[in-house]
């Protein structure tokens, strides 16, 4: 199977244009990051120099966790809209009549969701890190935030968690009949990978570069696997009619 970059580009461009003019998505992409930014910023400014290092480390862990929720939640909202939204608008059928392969369509939609999500996640991390460096009363906060395991984790986990969230969101969107249901389920289903980050935050797992790389590798494999699974689930007939293909050939293959 050869994927056509031109068709993927066409989908990405259309998605960006549509996202730009979708108030709900823009609202989600604006409000959520601000909400997740408030708490760590307050903590950074609140900590005085005499606070023990253990407390500072815990704050850094919490901040890390909060900042990683953004690349999970934001793309979930976009991805959950991607298929069921097209169906509600009546644009899905014309789209499916074109030569675009399902893998190309899905990659295009995923790319359009991952780029703004990761950009927002990196921007938030940069804001927190720069604020800590410039304004934090306790210099240990900066050291804790910029330790190598945190940085590697943020850089690698943000796109990979967003990828997971997107594939889960698209899978649910392909089967859902309502945008809001898809968004709620998509957000819920995209949260489990954060469990590892919670375990690190709770110091059940000791943060290290090696752990971050290993977890990133697992996420990468999971993302690629989900892409294939979602592509297999993305059945034109089911999307249009709600029924599975029932050809003689399909029946023979099944049984």
């Amino acid at each position: 199977m050869r994927l056509d970059a031109g068709r993927i580009r066409a989908v990405v461009r259309k998605e960006f244009r549509a996202l730009r003019r979708n108030r709900f998505i823009i609202g989600t992409m604006t409000v959520l990051p601000i909400v997740f930014l408030i708490s760590p910023m307050i903590e950074i400014f609140r900590l005085s120099p005499g606070i023990p290092e253990q407390v500072v480390q815990r704050l850094a862990g919490s901040t890390f966790l909060l900042l990683l929720i953004v690349p999970v939640v934001v793309p979930a909202a976009i991805a959950a809209y991607s298929v069921v939204g097209e169906r509600e608008q009546g644009t899905l059928e014309p789209l499916l009549t074109t030569p675009v392969r399902r893998e190309e369509l899905l990659l295009g939609k995923a790319a359009a969701a991952i780029v703004p999500s990761v950009a927002i996640a990196y921007l938030l991390f940069a804001i927190v890190a720069i604020s800590a460096k410039l304004f934090a009363a306790n210099p240990a906060v900066t050291t804790a935030l910029l330790q190598s395991s945190q940085l590697v984790g943020e850089i690698l986990f943000a796109p990979l968690l967003a990828g997971w969230s997107i594939w889960v969101g698209i899978a649910i969107s392909s089967r859902a009949s309502d945008v809001r249901v898809a968004q709620q389920l998509g957000t819920l289903a995209s949260l489990p990978p954060l469990g590892v980050v919670v375990l690190i935050d709770l110091q059940v797992l000791t943060p290290s570069v090696g752990l971050a790389l290993a977890f990133a590798a697992v996420l990468l494999v999971a993302d690629l696997g989900m892409w294939r699974v979602v592509s297999a689930l993305f059945d034109r007939e089911r999307l249009l009619t709600g029924a599975r293909a029932t050809s003689d050939r399909a029946r023979r293959a099944a049984g």
């Binding site: 580009r9 461009r13 003019r21 014309p94 499916l96 074109t98 190598s148 850089i155 570069v209 050809s247």
Partner: protein
């Protein structure tokens, strides 16, 4: 995303893996990426993990940018500029006028429509509007039911079931290249499901079909969709995008590079040249329908499926769509038209099929009339005839007759051209004052209702 001149910033390597910069913009991105990686490695030289992580991210971003901004497949030939809009002509004088599609495009002949089932298709080389092709298409249309060889559509015992429910069953017909084929039937008869099946959107339960020369098989879906276009009843436009943005998406999905002229021509063809920058959400239903038609024209399809194209349009807009379909016919495009409007089918279609889950009949409207109804003459005289038996029984070609009013009679005849003079002579000989003798014609509506009424399944609808 590419430079305004359409040159790609990155191109696939002929040898090796990935992309390489092809323009100064590509080189600039490369230099920035390398520079950034070096700076980060120096900055984080004391912390190897961070440095390596940052370089990995930069590398991934660079590969992503290359994939998005590059994109000629390694095994494909060098990208030749797309031919100018072959079917889509320079802006016409008015929407739907004969000039709309009048410029003879230089393209392959009608016979190129149907390559052998096993040969790889050559997308976008199927224009059929050369004079020879037009003649061939006209001949094919006038020759009655087309042969399977070289047909645009061959449908053979096609059936689609959804569980226990049968959408359509045992449907067989053939459509010639350049034919406008009408597909009629009541609601729930399976028309749209047939279109979706032939358009590879849903899989048939049994039976076979060949669409635009390619067998209808799951593995051929993409190739078939390259050669056809489907305009659903609901045009399904992105309302937050402009008209041009909608068409750009579909041009991209059909692999049309440098699509600007093609989009302009398609919009001119549907008389929307001035509305390209309007948001689709701001257009009326009729204008959206036109955008849908422009979208269907974009890819220069060999077979165009139009599902109720005039649904919801006012009479003027509907007439413009009719003119456009007639232009497509003149240019040799095969049109598969589903409609509820019987007068539309009668006016536009070379042949019609009447479907009611099963195919009830296929043929030219004239043939359907002849097959269903005996030919008749309607005779009107100034006063009732004293002895109509004696007058009509003696006339040549009259099989039977009945009175349809005081001084009106309907005569079943073998051939109106033979019977009409004989009946006239007989009436004059009998001293009758003849007001009119006309052939009684049945409309397609009569045919349709007769066929549907015969069908016991229709009674339940």
């Amino acid at each position: 995303m590419q430079s305004t001149g359409g040159v790609r910033w990155f191109t696939r390597r002929q040898i090796g893996f990935g992309f390489r910069p092809a323009t100064w913009q590509g080189w600039l991105i490369t230099v920035v990426a390398v520079g950034l990686a070096v700076v980060l490695l120096i900055l984080f030289r004391s912390s190897r993990g961070i440095g390596i992580g940052a370089v990995v991210v930069i590398l991934a971003a660079y590969v992503g940018v290359g994939a998005l901004l590059g994109g000629v497949p390694r095994t494909a030939p060098a990208p030749a500029p797309d031919p100018p809009a072959r079917r889509l002509p320079p802006p016409p004088a008015s929407f739907g006028s004969p000039a709309s599609f009048g410029s003879p495009p230089a393209a392959a002949a009608a016979t190129s429509l149907g390559p052998s089932a096993t040969s790889p298709p050559a997308p976008y080389t199927t224009s059929v509007a050369t004079p020879a092709a037009r003649e061939a298409a006209t001949a094919a249309r006038s020759a009655g039911p087309p042969s399977a060889e070289g047909a645009a559509l061959i449908v053979d015992h096609l059936t689609k079931r959804f569980g226990e429910r049968t959408a359509f069953e045992d449907v067989s017909f053939t459509v010639a290249p350049g034919e406008v084929f009408g597909f009629l039937g009541p609601n729930g008869a399976g028309k749209t499901t047939t279109v979706r099946t032939l358009g590879t959107l849903i899989a048939p339960t049994s039976g076979t079909a060949v669409v635009a020369g390619i067998p209808l098989l799951p593995e051929n879906g993409t190739e078939i969709r390259k050669r056809i276009s489907i305009m659903p009843e609901n045009p399904g436009l992105y309302l937050r995008l402009t008209v041009v943005e909608n068409l750009e998406l579909f041009a991209g999905l059909y692999g049309l590079h440098h699509s600007g002229p093609r989009i302009e021509a398609a919009l001119e063809a549907v008389n929307l040249g001035a509305r390209g920058r309007d948001l689709c959400g701001s257009l009326s239903k009729g204008l959206r329908q036109r955008v849908g038609l422009a979208r269907a024209l974009l890819s220069d399809p060999a077979v165009m499926f139009l599902d109720e194209p005039t649904s919801g349009l006012d009479p003027v807009a509907a007439r413009e769509v009719h003119d456009l379909i007639n232009d497509l016919r003149k240019r040799g495009v095969t049109v598969f038209l589903t409609t509820h409007r019987l007068e539309e089918a009668e006016r536009l279609c070379d042949r019609v099929a009447i479907l009611n889950t099963r195919l009830r009949s296929v043929g030219r409207t004239e043939e359907l009339r002849e097959n269903l109804f005996s030919r008749a003459l309607a005779v009107e005289t100034a006063a009732p005839l004293a002895s109509p038996d004696g007058v009509f029984d003696a006339a040549t070609g009259v099989e039977s007759w009945r009175a349809s009013g005081d001084a009106s009679y309907v005569l079943n005849v073998t051939d109106p051209r033979v019977a009409a003079p004989a009946v006239t002579r007989a009436l004059v000989a009998a001293g009758a004052d003849v007001l009119s003798i006309v052939e009684s014609r049945h409309s397609l509506e009569d045919v349709y209702l007769e066929l549907i009424d015969e069908d016991p399944e229709a009674a339940g609808r």
